[in-house]
């Protein structure tokens, strides 16, 4: 069957719901939270219209949403959920559980700022706070990447038996409509065949006990295996991303998407919808003669260390844009990327710009202003100040 995309104008949340539908998820357990709700509403609508055969569990909390997904996934079903901010934080304990039990659950997190003060707007601190739970994390730049990300996440997750989070921005993507090229069901099925679980609680040939107490003599190796699975995932992500490109024309073989880096003095690095604005700004800056490029981190976990080293070797500086913050330190991507480069031969000048927290708008004008600041860093050969709270009212 020749690939002819079905173009639909949908929100990021509907793109996520359609991806779950096309991935033929069997169990969905979810709890409402703004701005995630329309994902689950859309899935409920698919069920109500007879378009999907899904067991839908309207649980009483996010903690139970993840716990129910864990039960369903351990039984062998392809399982989906979605949440945001407080809901994700409430799930935290069970995120560790899902990864430790090696369950390939896929979850969409709609990035939303953590309270207090209350905020429903875009901010990456919710998902990045889950960094060490053992989940993979994919950051979508636009609605198309939300759709593609969910489909690829299932394939990667079910290959390495590690859960995956697909992250999109509150409102900027979740509630903004855009054209998304969807894939005919038959071709999705070819790309993503039914799940073959590592183990199933429904198989009674050999009784199993999952998650039993492991003494200090054994626990260590369980952790090592999960660490190895993340290493393996880097390879699988590239293969799956390449296959996706060959089948559907959008290549995801790079864990970091780059632009204009060949002759760039410095690059902007960041994740998520923010990078759409950066790309626009870089196009304009190039026209004005700036030697600037961009590096969009698609996968934050596993972290694409090797790709980052390669990029860093070819530039004089990196301006890391963090729509998140780790209190007592700096932007989280900044810390991660500096750490990744420490033992490499690449030592670009690195400066951290804290932008857009709690949904503060990040415009092309802002990116241009940051470019001017970063240009001075490159010219002087010195990082004047490592971390800048760019938008701060004075």
């Amino acid at each position: 069957m020749e690939y002819k995309p079905i173009r639909k104008v949908v929100s990021g949340n509907y793109a996520a719901a359609y991806a779950a539908l096309h991935a033929r998820v069997q169990v969905v357990a979810a709890y409402p939270i703004t701005p995630q709700t329309s994902i689950i509403e859309k899935i409920a609508e698919f069920i109500a219209n007879g378009e999907a055969d899904i067991q839908y569990i309207p649980v009483e909390s996010e903690h139970s949403a993840m716990a129910a997904c864990i039960g369903a996934s351990a039984t062998g079903a392809r399982t989906f959920t979605a949440t945001s901010a407080q809901g994700l934080a409430l799930m935290h304990e069970m995120l560790h559980w899902a990864a430790g039990a090696r369950l390939p659950i896929v979850m969409v997190d709609v990035n939303r700022a953590m309270a207090p003060p209350w905020s429903v707007w875009d901010d990456q601190t919710d998902s990045l706070s889950q960094r060490d739970t053992g989940w993979m994390q994919f950051y979508a730049e636009n609605n198309q990447e939300v759709y593609d990300g969910v489909l690829m996440a299932y394939k990667v997750a079910e290959t390495v038996n590690v859960p995956a989070m697909v992250v999109e921005s509150a409102f900027i993507l979740s509630h903004t409509y855009d054209v998304v090229e969807m894939i005919p069901q038959e071709l999705v099925d070819e790309f993503l065949p039914p799940r073959k679980p590592l183990y199933s609680l429904a198989n009674f040939d050999e009784p199993i006990a999952v998650g039993a107490l492991a003494t200090p003599n054994d626990y260590y190796e369980f952790r090592y295996k999960l660490a190895k699975a993340h290493e393996e995932a880097k390879k699988v992500i590239k293969e799956v991303g390449k296959e996706f490109g060959e089948r559907f024309g959008r290549d995801y073989s790079q864990m970091i998407e780059t632009g204009y880096i060949d002759d760039a003095d410095f690059v902007f690095m960041g994740m998520g919808s923010l990078m759409g604005t950066v790309k626009e700004a870089v196009d304009l800056l190039r026209k004005e003669g700036y030697k600037v490029g961009y590096a969009k981190v698609r996968w934050f976990r596993p972290f694409p260390k090797e790709e980052l080293v390669e990029i860093a070797e070819s530039v004089k500086g990196i301006a890391v844009l963090d729509r998140n913050f780790s209190f007592g330190q700096e932007g989280i991507l900044f810390t991660e990327s500096k750490g990744a480069l420490y033992n490499s031969s690449a030592h670009p000048l690195m400066k951290n710009y804290i932008v857009g927290l709690g949904g503060r708008d990040v415009t092309v004008k802002d990116i241009k202003a940051i470019a001017d600041d970063m240009k001075k860093v490159i010219e002087s050969g010195k990082v004047d100040k490592e971390v800048v709270w760019y938008h701060l009212k004075r």
Binding site: A77, A202, A212
Partner: protein, 311 residues
């Protein structure tokens, strides 16, 4: 062992074993007896979900397992949610769940994991009507962490965080009637049971299996370690809990209450008979005992009235 046919006919407890020797329970553990009966009743085609509790340890550390069924260990507060997810997945994958030949999904959680930290997930499970059985084995405190009070600990009991002492710092709240909360969900079947009455327990497990929708059983399971009681007295203590009406046996089935006391006509024995075998009650004053006795009889009257009105 060969069992004579005439005996086989009379015994209602299945002879098959799916809970093996080599488990790590303490001597005289009521919970492990209960688990043995559950697996006898439901057999191998059971998916057992165990949250943090004594049974996490009893089942055996990796790579050992004393349980001849599929076992999923989960976090403390999640039993109700995990059994919901398993049931949904089984249905999505086309398996028959519950009933005579269906797969049994069983939550096996302690009183802390049910009446305290797991109450929300339990409520969600009950309210949504999943086809699974939730069994709370009630040993009346957090035993696995070393005997701390739960909301299911009775008035006057010593625990390590209600240690008696000079200021008489004992448990001052009555045992939470968690089954009343369960019944408030108007589920098809809820019951109390005791390890001292295994035939009654097996009958209730079988009934829970047949009835479609969620079932709940609260199983009284003495803990000699935590109750400071001799290890050969677990059955006797459990029997006295019923005979004193401290822990009456009853069923709630489709809106109707039915009391299942061994001697329905008999007046309850004095509560002291239940208390005196256990070191955990030794700090109680005469007034404390009176307070507990009064509560036991009030609750017993209440239950009898419910059975009268909704019998």
């Amino acid at each position: 062992m060969e069992v004579p046919e005439n005996i086989k006919k009379r015994v209602t407890i299945p002879f098959e074993e799916h809970f093996y020797a080599g488990h790590t329970a303490c001597q005289g553990c009521g919970a492990s007896l209960g688990l043995r009966y559950v697996l006898k009743a439901y057999g191998k085609k059971t998916i057992l979900v165990i949250p943090a509790c004594c049974s996490t340890i009893i089942a055996g550390p990796w790579p050992y397992s004393a349980i001849d069924a599929n076992l999923f260990h989960t976090a403390f507060e999640t039993t109700g949610a995990v059994i919901s997810g398993i049931e949904a997945a089984l249905k999505a994958m086309g398996y028959k769940v519950k009933g005579e030949d269906g797969i049994m999904v069983v939550g096996w959680a302690g009183d802390g994991g049910t009446a305290d930290i797991g109450l929300q997930a339990l409520s969600g499970f009950l309210e949504r009507g999943h086809d699974a059985v939730y069994i709370m084995y009630d040993n009346e405190a957090y035993m696995n962490t070393g005997i701390q009070r739960s909301s299911s600990t009775p008035y006057g009991a010593w625990t390590t965080n209600t240690p008696g002492g000079r200021r008489h710092f004992l448990e001052k709240r009555h045992k939470k009637k968690v089954i009343d909360i369960v019944i408030a969900h108007r589920i098809p079947y809820a019951a109390t049971a005791s390890i001292a009455y295994p035939e009654d327990f097996i009958r209730k497990l079988k009934k829970a299996q047949k009835i479609s929708g969620p079932s709940f059983i609260q199983l009284f399971a003495p803990c000699p370690t935590g109750w400071r009681a001799p290890t050969d007295k677990s059955i006797e203590i459990a029997r006295l809990a019923v005979q004193t009406a401290y822990f009456p046996l009853f069923e709630y089935e489709n809106g109707k209450y039915k009391i299942n006391m061994p001697n329905p006509k008999k007046e309850p024995k004095p509560i002291e008979e239940f208390l005196k075998l256990q070191g955990r009650f030794k700090y109680m004053t005469k007034e404390d005992i009176e307070t507990l006795q009064k509560w036991v009889l009030e609750e017993w009257e209440r239950l009898k009235k419910l059975a009268e009105v909704f019998g």
